[in-house]
Amino acid sequence: MHDSTKKLMISFVLTVVIVISAASVFLSGNEINPLLITYANIATINYTDALNDAKKLGIKLKDFTINPTIETMGNAKAAWLNARESYSQTEAFRLSNGPIDAEEGWHTSYGAPEGRLNAWPLDENMIDYTTNAKGRKTSGNIIDTPDIFNPGGENPLVIDVSIITSDVLVALNENGGNANVTTGYHVIEFLLWGQDQDYTNFIKDSVTHGALLAGQRPLADYTINVNADRRKQYLNAAASLIISDLESITSAWADGDSTNYKAALLGQNSDVTKNINVKVALKQIFSGLGIFIKSELANERIAMAVLTPSEEDEHSCFSDNTHRDITQNFQGFKNLLFGTYNGFDYGVALIDAMKDKTKLMGLIASVNTKINQMNTLAQVSRHFDYQIHPNDSQARQIKILKNELRAIGDQMIYVAKSNGIDLTVGNIMDVEEIKL
């Protein structure tokens, strides 16, 4: 499902505006809830890493577009894969009414760029040529249209695409409907790798490269092909948009700024009307984590892929990097649950107050085992898109993985309760809505 279509409006956030008097203990600096400090500090470092990795990707894409060779193309792909490692962990901050995807409130001024960064699946034949279901090469896309492009769909607005810039990509994104994705990591992925459709069962997709091969876009697309320059423009424009969006979110979580979101979450914002009540802050964090693990990771990302089954429903389908998306999404969740990041301990953690951790830790251990196996197989035997094949022994393991992740999502009710926060099942399920 399109991440760009995900909404989260936790109404209790909408209804609570805490006005704190100037004499408040919140301003003393000693009273900040330690759970929030840990959470916010991990956000600061994780988004900083995601931004730095995106900048590295931008540099490698520039190198590649200036001098397209097999080597520079490989470097660009490696930089993309590396950028996903840190970004995928930041997804644990989604769905919590934070700056990455808040629907309402002053902090929507950060742009709520989640959809623009990470929307998938794409309607890739709107972006560049594809081989369609009939085995024909498609045309009439942004890359091969030299002047005015009509994105199609519902009430589309035509856009001048003679030069592909970040602004053009923004104007085209979701223009004509939210299937029309033109920005973000997965657009760059498609422009680097090209299609990769790996089996013929439920759907008859036939662009197949094998169990350990991803998309095989030819270098010629960037050298001798008539639209080579337009692809280069597109890559660089998409990268600069990712970087500027991540700069915005990084500023929201930056230290030393008494006017930003991090300050508000910690009750330290100089504009006291922006400060978030501690209970509200914790409730949105717990329910956000629960929703992320259950509705998003287990249901939308794993269940959809393995049950349909459909290559188009796996997250990074061009690069065959879906196993890393899943791994790092879960890692991002564990970072916040245990208060650690990259092996470093950031202080009091959400799980610390929980008296009986047996069930939750058992589920996490079991999920870790299955994720490790998925990763090993993806490296030595077959990518995720082969592992979800109905006849593959791994399909059953991935289905169990999904069920265990759901159970972990449900466990968030108990983690929250041990921290004095009441959640109901309704808070961690099924709360996204299509934007219209």
Partner: protein
């Protein structure tokens, strides 16, 4: 059905209320939850034009009104007449038909489709087309008003819609074309309604008004493309759909241009050359059996929110003035008693509401009694949605009642002659059921 004693929704947040119709039934097993979320996903994914780079999501069009189910069923609530600036919303669809004659061709069409499509535009106006395929038309809705006086001289202003089509892409409509506007109904309790047996519905039939109460309910007997036989219709404004799956398949082909196991052909008319040529690339079942089944599963496993009846005087009055003769309150199912307030039968509702469109056994002046359950929630899901009745003409429940005519004339008159406090109690009760 569990009854909750309260007189408002104050314990629920705005957000929870807005999600009243999108929750999953509690305690589904992992396997059932899998089916539910698959269906939910297909209900929400945007479809794209075929042939695409993948067959997973392509097949939209060639002619279509929306590219996802949720575009018309926002939060699974009711459709509406306008979006902004008096632009007609996509959830307000225009059905077309022409008067029936005695030819074998017409009789055959009626038996199979329930009505005679307009030859150049078909059964429904598509407001969009994929690139290269002209859309059929856009619709305009204007209102004329009429004043209704209560005996205490209170005036209620009703709006009578006048629907026009503009930007016609395929020439003029036949001069006698019947234009019928419909808004998407709320998706409430569909799985429970499916458990009501045909016998329970037929038990309330009284086609010739044998009991002389002025009410002659008639079931709609419709041809099912799904089972290839005559079934009892229970869904849609004229009870033309026997099952949720059938209605979903019908919506897929007519609203999104998605062929499926029940409707295997695009609804291009003979003169729509671009539409015909464009659909040659499409799969036979753009919406596969698996996906259609999943969508039906999702819709039939949504949680029915609780009712909060506290206005028992209103409930009693509702029954006393005869509303419950058609809005039959309850049905006993194997494990539960449900309260949908409908007999699922067709009734003559008078000339003011008639759209002159027949659908199978439903005549131009006949409508299915719509279920009333969770009306109050319907209005809370989308705050700006003040659209009641089949075409959204009534702006509140009171207006909806006053529009009632035909077999409901007597109950409507009794309602209008009640003191204002009693009318208020009935309206409050309706918001609680």
């Amino acid at each position: 059905m569990e009854r909750v004693f309260a007189n408002d929704f104050s314990n629920l947040s705005t957000y929870e209320l807005s999600q009243s119709f999108t929750q999953v039934q509690p305690n589904l097993s992992n396997d059932k939850l899998d089916k539910f979320i698959l269906g939910k996903s297909f209900f929400r994914i945007p479809w794209v034009e075929a042939p695409s780079s993948t067959t997973a999501r392509d097949g939209l069009g060639p002619l279509f009104s929306a590219n996802t189910c949720v575009n018309c069923h926002v939060k699974n609530g009711r459709g509406k007449v306008f979006e902004v600036n008096n632009i007609v919303d996509k959830s307000h669809v225009i059905r077309l038909s022409i008067p029936l004659n005695d030819t074998d061709e017409h009789q055959g069409m009626i038996a199979k489709f329930g009505s005679i499509p307009e030859p150049n535009y078909g059964v429904q106006i598509s407001i969009n087309g994929v690139p290269g395929v002209p859309f059929e038309a856009k619709s305009l809705v204007h209102y004329s008003t009429k004043n209704i006086h209560y005996s205490d001289n209170t005036i209620i202003i009703l709006q009578q819609p006048i629907v026009k089509l503009e930007k016609l892409g395929y020439g003029d409509l036949l001069p006698n074309t019947i234009i019928s506007a419909r808004i998407a109904p709320a998706l409430v309790g569909l799985g429970l309604l499916e458990q009501i047996t045909d016998e329970q519905i037929l038990a309330n039939e009284d086609i010739n008004d044998a009991n002389h109460d002025g009410i002659s309910g008639k079931a709609n007997r419709v041809w099912s493309e799904q089972t290839k036989k005559i079934e009892i219709g229970r869904y849609a404004w004229k009870a033309s759909a026997p099952t949720v799956k059938y209605q979903s398949a019908n919506a897929a082909v007519n609203d999104m241009g998605l062929t499926n196991p029940i409707y295997e052909h695009q609804s291009c008319t003979l003169i729509q050359v671009e539409c015909i040529n464009s659909s040659k690339d499409g799969e036979k079942h753009e919406l596969t059996a698996q996906r259609l089944n999943a969508i039906s599963y999702y819709l039939t496993h949504l949680k029915l929110p609780k009712s909060i009846i506290s206005q028992y005087q209103g409930q009693r009055l509702f029954s006393e003035i005869g509303c419950s003769k058609c809005h039959v309150p309850s049905y006993s199912l194997p494990n539960i008693t449900i309260y949908p307030y409908s007999d699922f039968l067709l009734h003559d509702m008078g000339k003011d509401l008639a759209d002159d469109r027949s659908e199978f056994d439903a005549l131009g002046n006949e409508w299915r009694t719509p279920p009333l359950w969770r009306l109050g929630r319907v209005s809370l899901i989308l705050k700006d949605n003040k659209n009641f009745l089949h075409d959204g003409r009534a702006r509140n429940l009171e207006q909806a009642i006053i529009w009632h005519g035909g077999e409901a004339e007597r109950s409507k008159t009794l309602f209008m002659n009640l003191p204002v406090s009693s009318r208020g109690k009935i309206l409050q009760f309706l918001n609680e059921i």
